[in-house]
Amino acid sequence: MALPTPGEWLERIRALPRPASGRLRILNVCGGHERTITHAGLRKVLPDYLELIPGPGCPVCVCPEEDIHAAVALSLADDVIVATFGDMVRVPCNAPRREPRSLQAARALGGRVVPVASPGEVLTLARQHPGKRVVFFAAGFETTTAPIAALFSRTDLPDNLLLLLSARQTWPAIAHLLADGAPGFDALIAPGHVATIMGAEQWRFVAEAHGLPTAVAGFTPGLILAGLHAVLRQALDRAPRLDNAYPQCVTAAGNRRAQALMGALFEITDAEWRGIGPLPDSGYGCAATLTERDARRHFPGVFEAAYARRGEMPPGCDCAEVVLGRIRPPQCRLYGSACRPESPVGPCMVSEEGACRIWWSHGVPPTHEASSGRIAATPVDAAPGETAPIERAPDQEAQRWVLAGVVQGVGFRPFVQRLASRLELAGQVRNSGGKVVIEAQGSADRLDAFERALLAEAPRLARPRLARRETIPATLGPPDAARPNAARPFVIQPSDGDPGGAIQLPLDSPVCPACLAEIHDPQDRHHGYPFTHCDQCGPRYSVIERLPYDRARTSLKAFPLCPECRREYDDPHSRRFHAQSIGCPQCGPRLEFVQGKRTLSDPREALEAAIAALADGRIVAVKGVGGYHLMADAGNPAALATLRERKHRPHKPFAVMVPWQGEDGLGAVRRHARLDPAAAEALLADERPVVLLPLRANHGLEAGLAPGLDEVGMLLPYAPLHHLLLEALARPLVATSANLGGEPIIADRAMAAQRLGRVADAFLHHDRPILRPVDDGIRRPIAGRARPLRLGRGAAPLELELPWRLPRTLLAVGAQQKSTVCLAWEARLVLSPHIGELSALRTQQAFARQIETLPGLYGVRPELVLHDAHPGYHSTRWARDSGLACREVAHHHAHAAALCGEHGRFREPTLVFTWDGTGLGPDGSLWGGEALLGRPGRWRRHASFAPFALPGGEAAIREPWRLAATQGWQSGLEGPVAEGTDEALALLRAAWERRLNAPACSAVGRLFDAAAALLVPMPRVSHEAQAAMRLEALAKGDGQGLELPHQRDPDGVLRCDWRPLIRHLHDARLGPERRAADFHATLVRVLCRQAGAARDATGVETLGLTGGVFQNRRLTEAAVAALEEDGFRVLLHERLPCNDAAISVGQVMECLARLSRHEEE
């Protein structure tokens, strides 16, 4: 009997009716099936109610990464040849970029990799190379496993033939899909080739235990259509069974001889599936009889290293979802963009049997939504074996979206609810594991509109990312014909469970215009209320006790909502719907004013008293969002002087909070300062940072705000309380963090009273506890951007995405000053807010608290601690005492790695100038003027400065005149080279000559100190970088740069001889402004000179500037201009401060690069 042709099969299928369920989703489990289906265009010609879903059909695609890592490593071993099937050669693994990421790449590096088409070729290979060990890396399903067994059952094999077996059974993968209750398909065509070996009976469980129509099918279009016809018949008959639609080759029991052979040589084991994880009884391992040929036993070290990478997937790769049939190839984020056959990211794009490769080579474009391409899941509540489909309305569809990113604590669920109501969709939304899960039902076009709006119209504070989309059964039934317009519910479900580490923390946000309008509206119940907020504004991070973010887990739990607020909280059309930080005068936090023994507990009286005290020139400690400010009238010189005296802060500039005026709020700022667009944008950003702004000539502010400088840090009011204070006073207020020098910001009432009693005249408290203190951020416009100098409220914790996954959870503890800590796990990095200067006890306590609480928030546990090389840093001592495994990262390597990491440069060489105050170099001397060439994890010191002594160690830094003197002496100058008494100079000279307590250093920051002390009287600095700030402010005009001589030291490091510059600074014929400008211009020429030398030697074209010195706007802008003029690309920090706050990030980046290079362990 002649077999029906494909056309005839198609006719037979078309002749059958549509199933009552409306459609039939049919999974295939074989790359051969999928190739035929796609390339023969079966999806287009079949009735649209048949959905054909590619499943786990490709042994290469599911081969775990660790096996590929191992094969790559083996191929590079001296005496090994790796033989493998052709596709396997190109399958990438997520190796660090500098390592070979596939066998093909290994071969390019000299690895011995031979592609083979059959096991027999491997035998030939082994005989040809008796001096090598030939490892047969064999991935395959049962069809391939049988011939492998046949080969290894031979008795004439040479001793040098070994087996790296990565073979899998197919049925456990299907069992896995079925086991979770929502397999996403209604029928199965079982793989014909596998069945020839294992027998059709193997698939009976699908039909009988799970009630899904099942047919074993062959590989031609006709044979596949025969299988599809069979399962469609079963579905129509509601009689799921096992059909053998490939009787030409497949028998019920299969090839018993092959099975016996496999049974003798291999044993069934649990096995890893790439991206899926371990599946029980799904793999083949070498049985005892084959032990001596098992490559895993011959090279235990290689496999141990490879297994350490178990589970690594390239970031963004959705192959696992594709393999499981949960998404279609075009739904993968990388499909067709980062991942193409010529440069595959995931295995599905490599193998001829991979679904992505098949679809791509068939021309399916990215983001293309094939009409039959949506996956559906059977109802979760359907009992196993239940086949009766639920009645669905043909015009109703349902979808589920999973959104990741910043989606919690930002009014996202209420937004979704409102959006769904607008589009008249039924369904639900809930927080789940740090993500938001939305299920909605409605017409297809409305669902599409809904999805578009979900991302496009998301609330201001949200940053949603679509993690997954799937079709689900439309279980709510058609609209009631009698009441077609009746609203069906879309509900907000309670959060489920612990979000684990997936959460993104919501950040504190300034009061929004709508709330501000209510505060100003005498008719509104929020009138004049300083804690008015909605789902778009208010405290977040600072009040979070634990996650997920719900009122009961914040410090607002102490304020039960009044009926009015409760009504708004429950009203989906209100801005306060499920907004956690709301309150009103009836139920919310309250102000209290304390001055001496006088306490005002009436909130309005308290506010008025604070306003009166400030107007009267008093210093008032005002509790805000992340802590207390010390506030005073910025226009009152006596108040400023008192504040400086009491705070023991003679010079350091004070930040000024400027009233919100004019249409854009910046009117008052503009009166005092020159504002470029970047600065304006920064001032208004949600972070509401302090922005350092150049003052206008007639700025009208007190000189005492920033003595000797021509810049003042300004910020706009952000809490409603600030607006109320500034509106009433209508003048700028000093708003400096309330602390004592170097200590963390004070956020607690008792601590404020204890520590600020001698500083503040009065206190304006409120009773909303601050659980996570956080300072105001600081930014400075440099080279076209407002770059962070300190990450604070609204910007921190800062999260960065790593280029690949970390094998372990890292805790980086940063440096000493500007301490931050960094937590990194998987492909995530979270940077803490600014902690402060770690020499103070209270800062150390805050440091300890941050280390204790940050991992808890994210539910991770640090396994490896990264610290600076300096043994005296508190952070280093903490790390070494922590009992955890530690790694040291040199200070300037961390600086350079932070910059490269921020810009994603892990592979390409970069020349990074790391100029700062001092940090301990890998050679044990103090660095700080280093040009490092290389990439994270591998730096070479290209250039530096001639070393000089720091007489008295830290004392030289506190008293820059000492450096001015010793630099003068070192430059050959005699006589009065600096300020200082004769006795002091004599002692200094004696100490300097004897190198007594005078460590060697090459830091540019210290050159700034010396230069500043030469040009401005500066006996003692009272805050960090004071000298450098003065010098920058002093410089006027472009200046003339000197060409400083350079010489290579014995280590080949190009050293700048700075002595001519010091001599130049002594030239009294030039004014100090000019000399200060010359100093800056000279350093720019040093940068150009050192960069040019590096380019001449290595061709490097990309430069980076980092380290605290580059907080200097004049230097950085001139340097960028000059270096770009010279043809270089210049990288600056954009999201991280360039100072030591970035050290913890750099420690992670450095370790990330090293760990993935296997340099450690």
Partner: protein, 342 residues
């Protein structure tokens, strides 16, 4: 033999050969200065008299004494050898009785320097009322011992039942120092570096016995220590380690001479880490602090005594609080402190 003959003005290796030269050196220098009935026999061991009663216990200590230079303002290695050992006994509550003295002499040490040192040593021993009852002399080749060093052991007695130590220290106890800090460290350093401005600065090298005896009879005395190497900060770190309590020091109360402070400022040293050789740190019960201070201040060595801090249960660090409430942590001493400011 063409070796140069013994130089009569310096120590030679021949002085260490156990023969005539050695005996002459011992007689001429050590016995003449230190002679006493127990040392006189120059036997292998000293036979000491029995103690008069049974209510005392023996206290025994041993000390190595090295200093460069050998002479400095306020003392020399000879007086230092006696004071160091006597003070170790004294802070344990003991009355020092006997010392042994091992002298390690470097080839080439001028004999007159040796004699000056031993004279000074003998004078200090007399002042402390201790006897050197045993000794030994070795000569080391040139370059091996910086001129001279001593090994000194000491025996003292103290009343039974004294409970001095860190065990009884309580939160709230007061920390007292008996006088200005850092004098010895700065004086020696200036002498070593030949700065030539040591006029106003001298080592505090002295016996602390009167200071310790003054407090011994006082209830509430917990602990005494002489802050030698590593200074006050290091002693207090040991206390913190042992007790788990913190110590909060009040900066304005710390007795530090202006001249010491200014040299420290200039050279970048912290006087709290500099050695003293004639001071006592005492920890006493809060309610006894005033009495202890009064007793010390009544003594010539105790005029500068101060109560400087408190055992603080609120932290476990050494915390220095300045006059306006600013706080600074004093870390344990580094081998080679490097600037941490960036």
């Amino acid at each position: 033999m063409t070796q140069p003959g013994p130089d009569s003005s310096t120590v030679t290796l021949a002085h260490g050969n156990g023969g005539r030269l050695m005996r002459q050196l011992i007689d001429a220098v050590f016995v003449r200065q230190l002679g006493n009935p127990w040392l006189a026999p120059l036997a292998d061991a000293a036979i000491l008299p029995p103690f008069p009663d049974g209510d005392h216990e023996l206290v025994f200590t041993s000390d190595g004494v090295t200093v460069q230079p050998l002479f400095f303002a306020g003392g020399d290695i000879g007086s230092l050898a006696v004071h160091g050992t006597v003070n170790d006994l004294a802070v344990c509550g003991a009355t020092p009785r006997y010392l042994s003295l091992n002298a390690f002499l470097e080839e080439g040490l001028p004999l007159d320097e040796l004699e000056r040192i031993v004279v000074s040593l003998a004078k200090a021993a007399r002042a402390c009322d201790v006897q050197v009852v045993a000794g030994d002399t070795k000569v080391l080749p040139r370059g091996l011992c910086g001129g001279l060093y001593f090994g000194v052991s000491g025996i003292g007695t103290r009343p039974l039942g004294l409970a001095l130590g860190t065990r009884d220290i309580r939160a709230g106890d007061a920390v007292l120092v008996s006088g200005p800090l850092g004098d010895h460290g700065i004086a020696v350093m200036l002498a070593r570096e030949e700065f030539g401005l040591s006029g106003s600065l001298a080592s505090d090298s002295a016996s602390v016995l009167p200071l310790t005896q003054a407090l011994l009879t006082m209830p509430g005395l917990r602990f005494m220590r002489d802050p030698t190497r590593g200074g006050l900060a290091t002693v207090l770190h040991e206390v913190i380690q042992a007790t788990g309590l913190g110590v909060t020091l009040e900066e304005p109360r710390l007795p530090i001479r202006g001249s010491v402070r200014s040299v420290c400022d200039m050279l970048g040293y912290d006087p709290l880490y500099l050695a003293c050789e004639g001071r006592v740190v005492a920890i006493v019960a809060e309610e006894q602090a005033d009495e202890a201070l009064r007793r010390w201040q009544a003594l010539p060595q105790g005029g500068g005594a101060q109560r400087v801090g408190t055992l603080d249960p609120h932290h476990d660090r050494l915390l220095l609080v300045n006059e306006w409430g600013g706080e600074r942590l004093l870390q344990e001493l580094e081998d080679d402190p490097l600037p941490r400011i960036c």
